[in-house]
């Protein structure tokens, strides 16, 4: 058995940061969604329809693990709503 890998993660939103200081130490094979759900609960975010998670400006798949998203080390997840609908057609 190889030694389990960990990542250090903080979730950043306009409702606050989870954890409030420092980072959570999380198994790298764990799905991203699990820590986001903890952040939602802690920050009292009740609906995440249409929200996206980004690391370093790149959107990640929250139903995949940190490893599968190519993430390692220490980083922030930027968690928030995408732009939404409306708009005009630009050619």
């Amino acid at each position: 058995m190889g030694k389990e890998q960990f990542v250090e993660v903080a979730v950043v939103t306009t409702s606050g940061t989870y954890p409030t200081s420092g980072y959570n130490n999380i198994p790298a094979h764990q799905k991203v969604r699990i820590d986001l759900e903890k952040a939602d609960n802690e920050l009292k975010i009740t609906s995440i329809d249409g929200w996206v998670a980004q690391v370093g400006g790149r959107q990640i798949d929250i139903d995949k693990s940190y490893l599968d998203n190519g993430l390692s080390g220490q980083f922030f997840i930027d968690w928030g709503p995408r732009q939404g609908g409306g708009g005009a057609i630009n050619e």
């Binding site: 709503p81 732009q83 939404g84 409306g86 708009g87 630009n90």
Partner: protein
Amino acid sequence: MNRDLSEALFKDQTKFCSDTTLLLVRSWRVVSASYPSLEVEFFADGRFPIRVKLLCDEWDELPPSIDLLDQNDVPLPRFPQGQGHSVFNNSAHPRTQRPFLCIPGVREYHEHSSHIGDSWDNYKSKSGYDLGGILTRVWSAWKNSQ
């Protein structure tokens, strides 16, 4: 809308303006956050910064009225161009005669004749439609524009 209540809600929902981690991660700079106005600049590599001004009088009975400015506080004559279905509408808004942001959570969207049936009441109690959420949506749109 009671002004004191509106101001209290504004202050509560602009606490992120002192969150240095968030501001660093998103490359945001808070110009001012004084009721009823919130002004934040967005920065990104290779782009001119943009200043977003949210006028939040009557918050949250009404959504904020939003305009885009340059760093000298001059309203942009044209908004950035998005690809395909853009939320930046460069036609003159009937009330402001200015380009406008065409997304739910923006006053100009809800009062436009094209969206008169899509009331702000459909959104105001949802997560992601507080002031931070609306600003995040504008930022997201700007990042996807040119």
